[in-house]
């Protein structure tokens, strides 16, 4: 069974602290007056790191069979990634707005 490789509870306390730190880091970043794109990029990267940790450790993805990971995660990410096709139109929305 997969769960033998699983670390003890202390380890998860560590994970928990790390995640709180990331959330804190995000808050700190918010007030660094970074340029918009950098700020958004940084936030998203941090969010994905944090989410990844949640999936891999809190949700034990790391200790399940790799098949599960390689089936679910890439497909879901692929689908959501495809939605990025909407950005050109979002920008258009601002550029061609009637009441500019």
């Amino acid at each position: 069974m997969a769960s033998e490789r699983e670390p003890g509870f202390k380890f998860y306390v560590g994970i928990w602290i790390v995640m709180i730190c990331i959330a804190g880091l995000e808050v700190i970043l918010t007030y660094q007056h970074l340029p918009g794109r950098t700020f958004v990029g940084a936030l998203l990267i941090l969010a994905f790191v944090e989410g990844g940790i949640a999936i891999m450790y809190f949700m034990h993805m790391k200790y399940e069979s790799p098949n599960l990971f390689w089936t679910l995660v890439p497909i879901t990410i692929f689908v959501l990634f495809m939605l990025d096709h909407i950005w050109p139109d979002a920008l258009r929305l601002a550029r061609m707005n009637m009441f500019r």
Binding site: A2, W16, A23, E26, G51, N67, T76, A90
Partner: protein, 207 residues
């Protein structure tokens, strides 16, 4: 059903490619599709935000951002306590597991209360699904209350689900696997918040 039946039945089946329980797999699949649901809403909100010319940044550091951060910590902690519960369940310590699940539910409830408190503050300030006291695009309200509302629904239903499972586990009708499967859902609620917090709160902070 009887273990013996389970045994005989299983021996005559192909192994699941994932080696996990069907209900756990189903939970994972549900999580995947729910992730797309949240994804779609977040994309939609960002689409309008990127396209908007008069976006407003309503969240002051105090109280909004602080409050949101506290909520984040609470939700993260609830995930940890949920894990503790699963650990206890795996160790076969029912009482301990139930206690931890209780704590998790409590934290979930606190999260919901804080959230609603914030909502009502904002209503008082004149925010609403289609109201924007700052005079900017009303989509902020729609997006904010829409997304957090969807998430809050998940939190509340998660608390209820935990309660049901805890009772069933206590009565012996459900086993440790049910606890683990439910924990997945709870962690997912946490997972979603990790995107809601930066995208909906921090990116709308008054800087």
């Amino acid at each position: 059903m009887s273990e013996t039946h389970a045994g005989t039945h299983a021996a005559l089946m192909e192994a699941s490619p994932f080696g996990i329980q069907s209900k756990k797999l189903a939970m994972w699949l549900f999580i995947a599709s729910d992730a797309v649901t949240f994804g779609a809403v977040l994309f939609g909100y960002s689409f309008l935000r990127v396209g908007s010319l008069d976006w407003s940044y309503p969240f002051k550091f105090s109280p909004s951002i602080i409050n949101a951060f506290i909520m984040t910590v609470i939700l993260l902690t609830s995930s940890l306590t949920m894990l503790a519960g699963v650990f206890a369940a795996k160790a076969g310590n029912k009482a301990r597991c139930l206690a931890w699940m209780g704590v998790t539910m409590l934290l979930g409830a606190i999260f919901a209360i804080l959230h609603l408190r914030e909502w009502f503050h904002m209503f008082d300030e004149g925010w609403g699904l289609f109201k924007n006291p700052l005079g900017g695009s009303a989509d902020f309200g729609a997006g904010f209350f829409g997304i957090t509302g969807l998430h809050l629904t998940h939190v509340v239903s998660g608390v209820i689900a935990l309660a049901v499972v805890a009772l069933g586990y206590n009565s012996g009708r459900l086993d440790k696997n049910h606890v683990e499967t439910t924990s997945l859902y709870w962690h997912f609620v946490d997972f979603v918040w990790m995107f809601v917090f930066p995208i909906v709160y921090l990116m709308n902070a008054a800087r």
